[in-house]
Symmetry: C2
Subunit: 877 residues, 2 copies
């Protein structure tokens, strides 16, 4: 059987349809579908993606039958249009466009007016009676073809055009006359001959064949290849090519061109939205000479066309059951549809459209939930850069915590606090942040760092605080002492206005206007549906009563990770903590711990109260002790004074606590085993707090979590200690309190030996951050440089700290679940890494049959929606 | 059925035998076995380990029938001995000793002369006619019983004894008369009454029962529990108790006591070896009043006894088919055997005895191989501390590289080099070593560090150099600037003499005499047998031609790991390396790399030549680049001068390359991907070297190894690059060269996705050091402190960097092997971590069906022997 490589559309002879997207590409399939719906599209034909794929397999040669099929379809097209391709009397002109299965920037877009040469040009002049129009088409065609097919830089043609305009002392292209255009055409052709050593091709068939090849080849430009890698698009898909007869919106006052949306893409409101321009082509809109009119005016300008257009847009939306983005052209009062596709929209619009369409009976609730990209949901909780604002992008780092913020630059947390006391809005800029910067971060509007990835300290803290953060901006060089930084050649000084877009990672000059967040009834309705469909529960990572409150408001069903160490960074507490760590004498140490107890108890009391009736997972102290210690000589001197110790002695002690690889050092339960009094204090504090509330009738569900277990013996020892302390406190309080003791699974060995650990534990919580670090041997703090190289060069398809590595880390999680449940049917399983808020990861976790995910409070809605989407698409096992 | 708890031995009524070791303990089973062989043992009975275990299960109460059984056996014993326990006429006295399945220090050892009281004492005086002897027995019994059964510190009795000796102005106990002894007995009893509020028990049955309980309870002393944890002895085994009639070697010139070995335990020579003392008990030998005589003299002193003893020792050795360590007592010309057991021996003796016994037809070659502890084999290649030397132990660290060395202390590598130029032997003492210390290490006799474990830099380098090293001696505080260190209160200064025992980890004061190594024909014979039985091959980790030569001499079958980075630490090379790393301009960088190429090529050429016909696995550059950079300001200034760069700029650059967790940072193949020119240079150098040799007819088998792969794409990219460079070089050379390209499996993700990687790779080499670090989340550089806490407290039974963690790391290795072989039948598999030289790990690797292990050259004989032992004990799957 001979493969069919070309499909005709329009003029009542359409061969394709919407479902043939893989073969015809998105554009081709939609053109065929519109034609099938009796919507007037300029006829043409689509060369399949398969033809392209075969072209590459043939070492860049056309498949045997392809050209003959093209010629046959061209014949059909000539007949349908009543015009001859290359004919001298009102010739057939075509556009040639690429169109792959997925929308793919970076590929060749369009050649218009193909078929023009000195002969057909005369026919066009004759037919339209508009010389200026025809010559303008021709000079544009030469420039466009030369650029995209012959590979001659557009700037050369631009320079010739510019010289002519300067000579004629005009500002716009439209001010050039036919004479000028003729000169331009001559000059353009001379340029081409100089550049390629051959004349510009006049034969329309040669033009067509070269353009089809150029579209095929554009599949393999660097930009397209990179885009495919980043978006996991297989290289062997190939692109389709659409050859379509030209229609002209610039043939006088009865012609027009426009772009419309079937609903408002910004708000989702059900109104016909868009704009058009009389006597214009798409390019003219871009040129910005005239302002387009709102689509409503078309009713007055061209009432019949408007009526037809209204019918068309309604039928397209109800056919596709989604908001459509439609391009049209009116040529001499006749409406042609050039393209329809699902329209891009804001998160707010996506939500409103989905809910409205359910209420209109167009789609089901499940479909509505699937329509809203979970990754976009948190947009509606954050200020965003106004889409209408003009932007000067200074640089682009990682979008580490979503939302946008504008303010004055500061380089130290101290300065941030000073300025914020005067109600100034500040952006804190650091090489990287450390726990010492917490105060400055908490008063800043946003945080920008030169180092660190999606799970660096800055990123994690900013997300927990719900503040925008751009991290890992390698080009940024910060010099805090000089109160300045440089970024891609621009010097930024303290007090300069700057705007961060933590969603895209962009750093913008000046104070850019922002849109303010608004939670709508549409959102509440959608989330209500999602809640009913979810299988996975969603908890939040919250370290303070405030975080807990935010989490609960966003719909969290408990706290999956309360990091007790963040409680110690308060000014007064950190001193006690430091005393405890540094203390040479046991008595000093014990005293410090004793003073920390009531402080921790009060923290836990408040969190338990906020989360009444919901589980609260409290992780015992995890980070290496030296993280609590000062690092600069000045800070050490201050602490030495406070502790009445010589600074040199203190320095030595601090030095001795430093580790070569602190990630893999004395932290987690290792601390709890070597220094049992710290964990004892924490357990005492939390059980005392729980008992106090239980006495008052508050329901408390504490889950005590032991971090960094690699061997069951570690867990056994710590658990025994916990149970002893708890029994003592509960006994003394004389109440009934149920609590659970479980462990993080965050080291590969814990996953591999999960059966041993599960026998002793009430729950597992997968710490996917550390599990990723150890499984991949990749420090998130150090990966910045080479991880971006890996992502840009396709070594890795995805940042494993953003979306969980399913084959590696995921396989270990699956193994741990299987081994754990095999020996302990009651074992409760959750995720508390950063991946708990990532939709792709949530889908994976749902498929593994976990009980819950836990993420930062601002990610909770995203997680709730993702969980519902996962349940709809891949039911849990 | 009622459980039998007591087994009689001797006097023709023996109930046990050697095979009942589990029930009767080692001592009890051997006493029964000797009795069965008609060897004269003082009769008695053994209370089983089961009785002890039941005692603990019963909350420390005797199992019901136990005491009655003891009484019945006592009756049998009285009858056999013709003496009454507690009788007033020549009473029956017994010894009570513990005896578990495995030899276990830390448990109660012995109570002698049990049964004495004022009544029986008189009988003993009457029967022996030796009042001094009888009273001496009694005072010793009171002190011994009070100490081990009543828990009264021995020092109290010692003080009373000392006062009496002072008062009588005598030096030795033996100089005290009967009157003194009677006073002592009175004073001892008064002390007991004061301490326990009750009189010393006179009833022999009560004495016996209390002592049996005390032996049971000694199973649970802290020391015994710790010992069991460290040696993986289950807590529920329990100990047996041996109650045996007393015989006395101190009843005049016809009595004696002695300890003999059936062969020389130091050399293995087949001579009757040992010593004895006329008219003495074991204690007297310990007291050191008289010098014992060599056993040969006994032939003259007691010819009949000697003849009997000779028959006995020969029959015991041929019965047990092993060299025996035998205790005997002669009471009034009658020979009693008190104990026989396999004798401890040096490695040299173990080898000679095993080989001799094969030649004598006593044991098989397999048995001979199993008889030699593989862990001891490398003793014979190193100087050892002379076992006869008196030692002053200053401290004990980790025995990180075996052998002993003595020399003058130095604190800097520079000083080490200065002194060594004057032919001084030096010991380099550092807090920890770094690659910068290599020169100092290479001239030192041994290395001592305060930090770092078994796989720290110092340990790994010292093992590779075959030098003794003690690492991780936490009590050592080094102050290089002051040229001094302190260790457990002792101040050590530069130039002080010191001796390191890298086998035991001991640091000894002064210059201790050492024994020199000697490889014997016995060793060669044994290894010849081992070679025929091995399944696993053994390669060596060797980085230099010298290492390769040593490895080959020791029997290595190839190089399993050639670390190219160690080649860069030479003075001239490190500068090029640093230039390459620091270079801001590509040209400077390229030049440095160009200069490194011939240097590397020459290294490879020499190694390939040495290893002709054997595989050589070369690992491409692995460590983080900053490891090559200077760290102190002085070093930075020097480099800045050499590079003609401002020191501040250089400092900044170095700072920017530092990582928070370099273990998990930019290293391994990540370097090769981000900076492909380094790997390209290395591949070019090694393939050029190989081609040059191939041209001369030398057989070269290069295996190129890519480190730190976590994702198959990394391997694909690097392999493609390697193959391209290799094809170019081979093509240019016009020779035929086969080479392999494989990868380290040293990250958990690589193990989990081994099937993907195996499709692309020719071989896997498991880097168990890094795999242990990442699987357990444990940095070997930082684990020192808490890992020792873990081992001491039984959290972990074994240092995972010494013996491979089979459940965690081992499970990942097993998974990788299975997945790898499933997709690539030709896949070649080896181990190149430190575990490659550990016998327990080798046994495990053998059971997994690996092709080879690779270890440091000096470990090769150990590995060869272990591999044979593993093959004999657990055939590969």
């Amino acid at each position: 059987m001979i493969t069919k490589y070309v499909y005709f559309f329009g003029a009542g002879q359409t061969e394709g349809k919407a479902e043939m997207r893989e073969l015809l590409g998105g554009k081709g399939a939609n053109l065929a579908e519109m034609a099938n719906l009796d919507i007037n599209v300029p006829p043409g034909f689509t060369i399949t993606t398969e033809a392209c794929a075969t072209y590459f397999k043939n070492n860049n040669k056309f498949p045997q039958s392809l050209w003959n099929e093209v010629l046959a379809n061209l014949k059909t097209l000539q007949k349908a249009m009543g015009k001859e391709f290359g004919g001298s009397d009102g010739p057939l002109l075509v556009s040639v466009r690429s169109g792959s299965r997925a929308s793919m920037p970076g590929m060749m877009d369009t050649v218009l007016n193909l078929g023009l040469n000195p002969g057909t040009l005369k026919g066009l002049v004759g037919k339209t009676g508009n010389g200026r129009f025809a010559y303008d088409c021709y000079r544009r065609f030469i420039a466009m073809f030369s650029n995209v097919v012959l590979g001659i830089g557009g700037e050369h043609f631009e320079a010739i055009l510019q010289r002519r305009k300067t000579r004629q002392q005009v500002e716009f292209d439209t001010e050039l006359g036919v004479g000028d255009l003729k000169t331009l055409i001559k000059d353009f052709k001379a340029l081409v001959k100089r550049k390629i050593g051959k004349p510009f091709p006049d034969d329309p068939l040669i033009q067509l064949r070269m353009t089809i090849e150029a579209v095929f080849n554009s599949w393999n430009t660097d930009r397209a290849v990179t885009y495919r890698r980043l978006n996991r698009i297989p290289d062997d898909w190939g692109t389709a090519v659409n050859v379509q007869s030209m229609v002209f919106g610039n043939m006088g006052p009865t012609s027009a061109t426009g772009v419309v949306f079937t609903r408002d893409p910004a708000t989702g409101e059900k109104i016909f939205y868009g704009e058009y321009m009389i006597n214009a082509q798409g390019e003219d809109v871009v040129a910005g000479i005239r302002t387009p009119s709102p689509i409503a005016n078309l009713e007055k300008d061209m009432p019949e066309v408007f009526e037809t257009l209204t019918q068309v847009y309604k039928s397209l939306e109800s056919h596709y059951k989604d908001m459509q983005d439609i391009e049209f052209t009116v040529q001499e009062n006749k409406l042609y549809m050039l393209q329809t596709r699902s329209g891009k929209r804001t998160a707010a619009a996506a939500i409103r459209i989905a809910v409205d369409m359910v209420n209109e009976g167009l789609i089901s609730k499940q479909e509505a939930i699937l329509r809203v990209p979970a990754t976009q949901v948190d947009q509606i909780f954050h200020p965003m850069v106004d889409p209408k604002a003009k932007l000067q992008v200074l640089g682009k780092g990682l979008g580490a915590s979503p939302g946008a913020a504008a303010g004055k630059l500061v380089f130290t947390p101290e300065r941030a606090m000073e300025l914020s006391k005067n109600k100034e809005r500040v952006i804190l800029v650091r090489t990287e942040t450390s726990p010492e910067d917490i105060h400055g971060m908490s008063v800043a509007q946003g945080i920008l760092t030169a180092k660190g990835g999606m799970t660096s300290h800055a990123a994690v803290v900013a997300r927990a605080m719900g503040k925008p953060c751009v991290s890992g901006l390698g080009e940024l060089h910060v010099e805090p002492r000089k109160k300045r930084a440089s970024l891609n050649g621009v010097v930024l000084r303290e007090g300069d206005a700057i705007t961060l877009d933590g969603t895209t990672g962009q750093v913008l000059a000046g104070k850019v206007p922002l849109t303010q967040p608004r939670v709508t009834s549409y959102f509440r309705q959608l989330m209500g549906w999602a809640d009913k469909m979810r299988v996975l529960n969603v908890r939040a990572n919250a370290d303070t009563p405030h975080d807990a409150l935010v989490a609960k408001e966003f719909g969290a069903q408990g706290i999956g990770l309360c990091r007790t160490e963040h409680m110690f960074f308060d000014e007064e507490r950190i001193l006690l903590m430091r005393k405890m760590i540094i203390a040479a004498k046991p008595k000093v140490r014990e005293e410090a711990i004793k003073k920390l107890l009531p402080i921790q108890r009060s923290d836990f009391l408040q969190i338990f109260r906020v989360m009444e009736g919901m589980p609260v997972t409290i992780r015992l102290l995890d980070p290496p002790l030296h993280e609590f210690l000062p690092s600069t000589p000045a800070e050490i001197r201050i602490l030495a004074k406070q502790m009445r110790t010589p600074a040199t002695k203190l320095s030595k002690k601090i030095e001795s606590l430093k580790e070569q690889n602190p990630m893999l050092g004395l932290r987690g339960c290792r601390l709890g085993i070597v220094f049992p009094d710290i964990y004892e204090m924490q357990v005492r504090a939390l059980i005392e707090a729980a008992c106090k509330l239980v006495k008052k009738g508050t329901k408390v569900l504490p889950e005590i979590m032991v971090p960094l277990v690699h061997h069951v013996n570690e867990f056994k020892i710590v658990r025994q200690h916990i149970d002893e302390v708890a029994a003592e406190v509960i006994g003394k309080a004389g109440v009934k309190l149920d609590y659970q003791v479980g462990t993080m699974i965050e080291l590969p060995r814990a996953a591999v030996t999960a059966d041993e650990i599960a026998k002793e534990a009430d729950f597992f919580s997968f710490g996917t951050n550390d599990l990723t670090q150890t499984t991949l041997g990749l420090s998130r703090d150090d990966a910045g440089g080479f991880l971006s190289h890996y992502l840009e060069n396709g070594v890795l398809m995805e940042d494993p700290f953003v979306s969980v590595d399913q084959k590696g880390v995921g396989a270990l999680i699956a193994m741990a679940i299987e081994k754990g449940r095999a020996v302990n049917k009651k074992l409760h399983l959750g995720i508390c890494g950063e991946h708990g808020g990532d939709p792709a990861s949530i889908e994976f976790f749902n498929s593994l049959g976990l009980d819950y995910v836990s993420c930062s409070p601002f990610r909770v809605p995203t997680a709730l929606l993702s969980a519902a989407q996962a349940a709809i698409q891949t039911p849990a096992p």
